[in-house]
């Protein structure tokens, strides 16, 4: 547990260091891409539905899985779509 907290602290620092000086046209894709990553909560949703089995859990858990999957799948795809537009443009450079 204490080690997990440690992991948390390290990851926070890493997150802070990773992002710096992002050109403005990348703000939206970056936001969208990291939003997709935050869909990682899908793992918790999967664990909940897969290992518990009261009805309430199944219902709420399944909704959680649906919601998280939308976040993940939609997030990555829409980010890719945004970036594809820049790509095209970059090819012309």
């Amino acid at each position: 547990m204490i080690l997990l907290f440690f992991v948390f602290v390290l990851a926070v620092f890493l997150g802070i260091e990773l992002i710096s000086k992002v050109p403005s046209q990348l703000h939206t894709p970056l936001m969208s891409g990291s939003n997709a990553i935050s869909g990682i909560t899908i793992v918790a949703a999967l664990v909940a539905v897969g290992t518990e089995s009261t009805t309430a859990t199944n219902v709420f858990g399944t909704i959680a899985v649906v919601a998280a999957t939308i976040n993940v799948v939609g997030g990555y795809l829409v980010t890719d779509r945004m970036l594809a537009m820049f790509k095209k443009r970059d090819g012309k450079r």
């Binding site: 894709p29 990291s34 009261t54 859990t57 959680a64 998280a68 594809a84 790509k87 970059d90």
Partner: protein, 463 residues
């Protein structure tokens, strides 16, 4: 495989996934590698999901249903949406992420109410942050999609009410954590209040500030994920959640800086709610706006040496990006040098203009950032302002009392002449009057941007 080997394999999968997230985020912040970065992070997600599914004793029927429904909806939404609607879609997706964390926290509590203290605390945070993210994102979505009025909805004592709600939630949180097993109702009240807080926190913020809000909520949803990770003691959740949480805060502050405002100002000032009366006071004694005719403009453009287009939010609403490109082509055929001046916060989301112009295949080499183009205006014959307003407002530079004082602007008023394409006397996002329109160098060409431009193309070709 033995249980232990399996666990090790799953954990290795999580480590690999985390590393891919880290690399992906890093690559996402540089134009060259961004797309690959997104892909890499998606691979990481896939690995994390597969690793989770390997857990022994999983029952799959609900999982499969959930994954399938979610994937279909997500993919459909991502492809169906119009380019310009992407920011609100991101808000919506983010809301779903928050919802998932909320539900996970709730279900875990529901299944095992009595847990060690730290788990209960983690449940509380997952539910609180998840709820705020969920409702906040939904409101942000509604504002951007114009299902709710975009302007700030302010009421007296709003901040006090929000503060009181937050205090109540925290107080209930202590009650809940002290005796989780007996606090089912307390949990429900916490959920309800948190949802309400999400709504009330975002409602007073103007529609055009939503990108910043979404970025902040995105950071929250990361933290909610990390909290869920502490509930189920899962390292990949904790790492990626806190990564997103931390980098989201940084991105938010970068975005605020581009608008030269503080985060506090964005969240609490109800920016853009300035009444027209108070704004009007600033326009006193500025004289009149001078209209010009289509043919005049066409001639001016056709015989210019250098023309700079300055697109703004109006270009987006008019969907005039393709016509601009046509006009540019027509001018270039006549030997005119054409440039586009891109202000970092033109439009309603960062990179809005880049996205639109990229869609119209405007060559990258013709796009100039603020610092590059400003020195060029004095040698520009015509600056054509297409539905931009705040980003060319000289008050930001000249009037230290202006609401937007200090925001860097595109200094079109230094060009030999300025033509402004807009529909009428409408204000920009800030609600401020724009002295540029009253300057001697400036001429107004009224009408929808797409219309005006289409007719300009024809006129230039005949000139």
């Amino acid at each position: 495989m033995s249980q232990e080997t399996l666990d090790t394999a799953i954990n290795l999968g999580y480590i690999v996934a985390s590393v891919l997230f880290i690399l992906g985020l890093k690559m996402l912040s540089s134009p060259k590698t961004a797309r690959r970065g997104n892909f890499i992070s998606a691979v990481g997600m896939l690995i994390a999901i597969v690793a989770t599914l390997l857990t022994r004793g999983m029952t799959y029927q609900w999982i499969i249903v959930g994954l399938a429904i979610g994937a279909i909806i997500g993919a459909w939404a991502a492809y169906a949406v119009k380019m310009t609607a992407m920011p609100e879609l991101v808000a919506l997706f983010n809301g779903f992420g928050g919802l998932a964390s909320l539900l996970v926290g709730f279900v875990e509590y529901y299944e095992h109410p009595a847990r060690p203290l730290y788990t209960t605390v983690a449940v509380f945070f997952a539910v609180l942050i998840g709820s705020v993210t969920f409702m906040g994102s939904i409101v942000a979505y509604a504002k951007l999609a114009e299902k709710l009025p975009g302007r700030p909805l302010l009421f007296r004592g709003q901040r006090i009410v929000n503060g009181a709600i937050l205090a109540a939630i925290i107080a209930l949180g202590f009650v809940f954590c002290a005796r989780p097993a007996d606090s089912y109702e307390v949990m429900l009240v916490i959920v309800a209040l948190s949802l309400l807080l999400g709504v009330l926190a975002v409602v007073p913020i103007g529609g055009a500030d939503m990108p910043v809000v979404i970025s902040l909520l995105n950071s929250y949803s990361g933290l909610a994920g990390a909290a869920a990770g502490f509930v189920i003691l899962n390292n990949v959740l904790i790492v990626s959640g806190s990564l997103v949480g931390a980098s989201g805060i940084i991105l938010t502050s970068i975005m605020c800086r581009a608008m030269n405002r503080s985060l506090g100002n964005v969240l609490f000032s109800g920016f853009g709610a300035v009444g027209p009366a108070s704004a009007a006071a600033l326009t006193d004694g500025q004289g009149a706006m001078r209209e010009t005719s289509l043919d005049d403009v066409a001639t001016q453009l056709a015989y210019a040496t250098q023309v700079v287009f300055v697109p703004g939010y109006g270009l987006a609403t008019a969907q005039a990006q393709h016509v601009v490109r046509e006009l540019a082509n027509a001018l270039e055929e006549r030997g005119v040098t054409v440039k586009y001046a891109i202000h970092p916060v033109a439009g309603r989301m960062p990179g809005h203009m880049n996205v639109l112009l990229a869609e119209a295949n405007v060559p990258y080499s013709q796009l100039y950032e603020l610092e590059q183009i400003n020195p060029d205006f004095p040698s520009t014959d015509v600056a054509v302002v297409i539905g931009a307003n705040d980003v060319v407002n000289p008050d930001a530079r000249d009037n230290p009392n202006s609401l937007i004082a200090g925001m860097p602007i595109l200094e079109v008023d230094r060009a030999h002449s300025v033509v402004v394409l807009k529909r009428g006397a409408g204000r920009g996002f800030s609600g401020l009057e724009n002295p540029l329109f009253f300057k001697p160098v400036t001429r107004m060409l009224y009408g929808d941007a797409k219309d005006s431009l289409t007719r300009l193309v024809a006129a230039v070709q005949q000139a």
